[in-house]
């Protein structure tokens, strides 16, 4: 369709010495304005599919950890996904510390994954880092896998007592979400 304007230049449109026509300026200005306007239209159309304000407002969760016995874990919900909060026994802490960090696929120590003064509280997402199933091992009587932590039944990922990937297809340790102790016994996640 561009050929019509090319012939127009020779006949009807004022042309300057350097071959630039007044119409070139108008074309560029009009198309440029339409392009900028188009971006302003596309942005809200894309943005509307991102989490809405009510979803974001529900994105932090408080959990009371005082009633969790050593060796026991509870499941909470954080951003519509399972959250495991576990109080480790001394034996589990010792088992986790006995594994040299350098030998791990995702090199984190138990210290990296817990908070100062609360080394026995392990907070992780209950979402396998392979493809998102919920690993077993949090509820009583569930299989804990070969390393006594968590075991994902979908594709056989084994996690140790610190929730670190030991064996199986999962690429990284169970995610530790951002959280903090807002009192001695209550954590706020997110």
């Amino acid at each position: 369709m561009a050929d019509t304007t090319a012939t127009a230049s020779t006949e009807t449109v004022a042309q300057t010495d350097d071959g630039i026509r007044r119409r070139d300026f108008l074309d560029i200005a009009a198309i440029g304005a339409a392009g900028v306007g188009g971006v302003f239209i596309v942005y809200p159309l894309v943005s509307q599919m991102a989490p809405s304000k009510d979803v974001l407002a529900a994105s932090s969760t408080e959990v009371d950890v005082s009633s969790i016995e050593p060796g026991q874990a509870i499941k909470a919900v954080f951003r519509k996904q399972p959250l495991f909060v576990k109080r480790l026994t001394d034996a589990e802490i010792a088992a986790a510390n006995a594994i040299p960090t350098g030998s791990l696929r995702d090199q984190e120590s138990l210290e990296d994954r817990t908070k100062e003064g609360h080394r026995d509280i392990l907070v992780t997402m209950g979402v396998c880092t392979h493809l998102g199933c919920v690993p077993l091992g949090a509820a009583e009587g569930e299989v804990k896998g070969e390393y006594g932590g968590y075991f994902c039944p979908c594709h056989g990922s084994h996690y140790d007592t610190a929730g670190r990937i030991m064996k199986g297809p999962a690429p990284t340790n169970l995610e530790v979400p951002e959280y903090e102790f807002i009192s001695d016994t209550v954590i706020q996640v997110g």
């Binding site: 369709m1 050929d3 127009a8 006949e11 809200p44 509307q48 809405s52 304000k53 009510d54």
Partner: protein, 430 residues
């Protein structure tokens, strides 16, 4: 089909040559809205409104699909999800205001388009099919707009649904069962809301399909023009692109300025505050009126107040539907061979001093409460409306002496340039 001098699409590189052989989509576009479609050179801005209507159809579909991602058609939560869109969804307020005002602007541009068709008799041969398809589009638009207005499930939504489905209740014998069947209940509720949502989503795509037929039918004779004289020679036309893409583009810019002024500064000016109150089956709003674009037809509905053989309620319903359905017969009611109102002195008088004032009166009365003087005014205007199309138009078209028409479009434009008119320079400057 097109004029013999229409430019032929020339694929310019290997890829477009490949495409032209396998799927000649660029050729289709070139011949439909590109340089391959010769258009009368004298079109005024009244010929912008078809493109504008197409733009608003696309706008309504895009914003509507977005809203449907966040809305739930359930009587328990419909009102709440509408407010969720307004408050929580990113840019949701803008999408909803764009959609609500987009409906109004769609009707504004379509009414201008119809006005153009009526004044310039665009419905006459050889363009009857374009007009008939246009009336179908208009009916589909009305149905779509009505059902869309029910979805927010506010007070006006609910009572609008009740009143409009009540129209079908006026049909003798089977009316009430039909109304109950339409609603899937005895009053608007979940069943009605769900089917209205389903159809409100479907119908715009049906409209898009009929629009394609409308444009297809248009491309056979080509566009009409303000003189109503058919294209005779190449100098009567210019290629659609760049001439009318530029003119339509400018018109679109002007309309968008007005549209976004409404969306951003007066988003609720054309709505009703009552629709921000959740639907309540036990309480009717004090003053219930449809959206502004239905006012003229609503006035015709209410103009019948006395039983005459049939009940007044039924007369109103018949008249309201007939007021639009008679447009289907317009190409055969107006028999004058001259199209443009500019060359029809008698038609012009009845058009400007009869039909247009009657429509304005109906518009005002439709939005006013059902009390005097509005009832009497809408009765007079309704009577004139039907007289105009069924009696005046046929008589005028047979007794009128039209003013002399220009020989050609070129003459109408370049009358003083005899050389151009006589055909020595029949190629327009491109």
């Amino acid at each position: 089909m097109s004029f013999p001098w229409a430019r032929e699409y020339q694929p310019s590189n290997g890829f477009t040559r490949f495409l032209d052989e396998k799927l000649p989509l660029p050729r289709l576009v070139y011949n439909a809205v590109g340089a391959g479609y010769p258009v009368p050179r004298n079109l005024s801005y009244f010929w912008n409104f078809g493109v504008l209507a197409g733009f608003f159809l696309v706008l309504q579909i895009v914003t509507g699909v977005v809203l449907a991602m966040h809305y739930a058609a359930n009587a328990q939560v419909a009102f709440a999800t509408t407010e969720h869109i307004m408050r929580n969804v990113n840019w949701g307020w803008m999408m909803r205001y764009a959609h609500a005002n987009g409906a109004s602007f769609f009707f504004i541009v379509v009414y201008m388009h119809i006005f153009r068709g009526l004044f310039y008799s665009s419905y006459k041969a050889p363009r009857e099919m374009i007009w008939l398809l246009g009336v179908v589009i208009f009916l589909l638009m009305m149905a779509t707009a009505f059902m869309g207005y029910v979805l927010p499930w506010g007070q006006m939504s609910f009572w609008g649904a009740k009143v409009i489905t009540g129209l079908f209740g006026a049909i003798p014998l089977v009316g009430e069962p039909i109304q109950v069947w339409l609603l899937g209940g005895f009053a608007p509720d979940n069943a009605a809301l769900n089917r209205f949502f389903s159809l409100h989503f479907l119908l715009p795509f049906v409209i898009a399909g009929v629009v394609i037929l409308h444009i297809w039918a248009l491309h056979i004779p080509g566009s009409s023009n303000p003189t109503g004289v058919e294209v005779k020679q190449e100098s009567d036309t210019v290629p659609f692109h760049p001439y009318y893409t530029a003119k339509d583009g400018f018109g679109l810019g002007v309309v968008l300025l007005a549209y976004f002024a409404m969306v951003f500064f007066l988003p609720n000016a054309l709505g009703h505050p009552d629709n921000y109150i959740e639907a309540n089956p036990l309480s009717t709003p004090a003053h219930i009126v449809p959206e502004w674009y239905f006012w003229p037809f609503y006035a015709i509905l209410r103009a019948f107040t006395v039983d005459f053989i049939l009940p007044a309620k039924l007369w109103g319903v018949i008249a309201m539907f007939a007021s639009i359905l008679l447009w289907f017969f317009l190409p055969w009611l107006d028999k004058s061979p001259v199209r443009s109102g500019h060359y029809r002195p008698l038609f012009r008088k009845f058009f400007w001093f009869g039909l247009i004032p009657a429509m304005i009166v109906l518009f005002i009365c439709g939005g006013a409460p059902a009390e005097e003087p509005y009832v009497m005014l809408s009765q007079i205007a309704t009577a004139y409306y039907f007289l105009h199309f069924l009696v005046i138009l046929p008589i005028v078209s047979s007794v009128e002496k039209p003013e002399p028409l220009p020989y050609s479009i070129t003459e109408a434009v370049l009358g003083s340039d005899k050389k151009a008119v006589l055909g020595e320079n029949t190629t327009p400057a491109v």
